[in-house]
Amino acid sequence: MTALTMPARPKHDAGLRPVPWRRMAWVTWRQHRAALGGVAALLGALAVYLWLTGLQIHHSYATACHPASSIACTINFTGRYATSVNVVRVFLQAVPALIGAFAGAPLLARELETGTFRFAWTQGIGRWRWTLAKLVLLAVVVAAAAGAFSVLFSWYLRPFFAAGYAIPFATDVFDLREVAFAAWTLAAFAIGALAGMLIRRVVPAIAATLTAYAGLALATALYLRQHYMTPLLTSKLNLPGSAWIVSQWYTKGGKFALPARGSQIVNALQHFCSSSRLSPAQCLSQHGYTWWARYQPGSRFWPFQWIEGGWLLALSVLLIAATVWLVRRRAA
């Protein structure tokens, strides 16, 4: 058959003004206010808890801990609150993952699963603008909420740092602090959004988000973070308590002698230091061993926060861009 003649493109289509971006604010709010409410409720409840217990903790620290190393402090402050701070920091590790799984993953997966994307993506605004506006708005809101929340958590932690119970570089505390916590929440959200687009089903997307987030957080804490800046090398035993010791070992006569962990050092300590009251390093140094450590000084805490925040932000931008690109390309 012959196709019918194609008329010239109508003039009024040229110079078509797109639907304004700001209209997406209402759309995003109306469609995701339940998810945002969930995030607000989660962070709000935790904030109230941290605020109430934090007041007690600060009060207890002020009365029991002068000086911070006193036995009274150990008994009345550290002993009393160690369990609760440990529970809190484990629990908070899950918060970004939960936000990613329950605010990020369903964002596109639900539209794809229920078929409503056929409605949403054929409206005048266009599907990539719809996606980009939603993702950016929600990402900014959840990251800002997480950042604000972590300021409170930092205040809650301060007495524990002061009492020497924890250091800011501790693996399970570092990523709960201001910049890093906001960035991890942002990354979790972006992972969730992409997983939702790729998997197209809510429940599997949630599972994938939790898995991917846990893997990334674990790999960062165990392998990546210590390499943000070249560690310093020292053999001085009076390293400040805030330093993060990345690795340590012993030499004897200028040659490697012992690792800092394992059966060799246990044997050496039993042999040389079984009756010593000194620390292992001090005792072994009396027997001709030199203790060496690579460490990140406590002064690098904020640079490390910004480095972690920076690469997580870059990753999140990349994931969101990939999601928008997929929406634009790979439709029904």
């Binding site: 058959m1 012959t2 194609m6 289509d13 209209r23 409605f119 409206q123």
Partner: protein
């Protein structure tokens, strides 16, 4: 109007190794209520998804509203699509759905939408998920029409509806399409709807495209198609001899045979045979039963077919 609302050339869509639509070439002129008919799996939904920009072609090309690429801002602006099962956000109220749609489009006729829902007795504060199937379909249609589109695309809009809801839905579509002729304020809506339900089609559609196994089998204005086909009834024994006019389909009874032939009212009827006009459903069924037969607009957009395309 000479514009084609949908124009496809060699259009194909493959999912994995399966072709859902293949070498589809068609042109649907503006100003019609065009019915896209075919059995399940004929590629109707695929064709419509390609036309509204939800899918990308694997082969060939498709343009809409006189040459626009599907999914382009101008195409999105001019086309309103109601997908199969009429998806709406179940947790939003009807009023929220109006507000949402208004925010997502350059034009939205709030007054029309509210009046329409009031007329249908759909409460604005009711959650879309709590509406009946017919009401959800009407809500989706109202949202689409309130965008004041130049083309309304409906994918199996009535498949899930009961007869009353089906009738009401089609009445809304027809009112919108009739308004095009100058009455009312909706002006300029062409409609393309897919359906495997043949009843009521004659009342609704004035242009027919029959899609079979991913290819266009019949295309043309309903009046032209009906005027160019006749049902001949005569002795069964003579059915095979009849070859003066192209025969589309033969249905044999014990004594009599019914032949759907391409013939006008002026064409002579052989002795012993009777000629009757055909209905759209009858005609469509005959072609559906004969996937090899075709009736397509020729170069002059007429009612001729190449005899070679017609099987006996």
């Amino acid at each position: 109007m000479s514009m084609n609302v949908i124009e496809a050339t060699g259009l194909g869509k493959r999912y994995g190794s399966t072709w859902a639509l293949r070498e589809c070439t068609l042109a649907i002129p503006a100003g019609h209520v065009a019915a896209l008919v075919g059995p399940n799996g004929a590629g109707k939904t695929t064709l419509l998804n390609l036309a509204v920009g939800l899918a990308e072609p694997s082969a060939g090309g498709v343009t809409v509203l006189g040459g626009l690429p599907p999914g382009s801002p101008a195409a999105l602006d001019g086309i309103a699509f109601v997908a199969q099962d009429t998806p709406v956000y179940k947790n939003l109220s009807a009023a929220d759905m109006l507000h949402l749609t208004r925010n997502l489009n350059r034009r939205f006729d709030q007054r029309y939408a509210e009046a329409r829902l009031a007329e249908l007795g759909i409460p604005l504060n009711r959650k879309a998920g709590k509406l009946s199937g017919g009401q959800q379909a009407q809500l989706a249609l109202t949202l689409a029409l309130a965008r004041r589109p130049r083309l309304l695309v409906l994918d199996e809009p009535v498949a899930m509806l009961d007869p009353v809801a089906r009738h009401d839905f089609m009445a809304t579509v027809l009112a919108a399409a009739a308004a095009e002729k100058g009455e009312g304020e909706l002006g300029g809506v062409s409609v393309v709807l897919s359906s495997h339900v043949l009843t009521e089609l004659e009342r609704v559609a004035d242009y027919l495209i029959l899609l079979s196994q991913g290819r266009v089998q019949v295309a043309g204005e309903v009046d032209d198609l009906l005027a160019s086909h006749r049902m001949l009834t005569g002795p069964a024994a003579e059915a095979d001899k009849y070859a003066e006019r192209p025969v589309v389909h033969v249905r044999r009874g014990e004594a009599q045979a019914h032949l759907l032939v391409r013939a006008t009212a002026d064409d002579p009827v052989p002795p012993g045979w009777e000629a009757h006009p055909v209905g759209l459903e009858e005609l469509t069924l005959a072609y559906l039963r004969e996937p090899g037969a075709a009736a397509l607009p020729g170069p002059g957009r007429g009612r001729h077919t190449q005899p070679s395309e017609v099987t006996q």
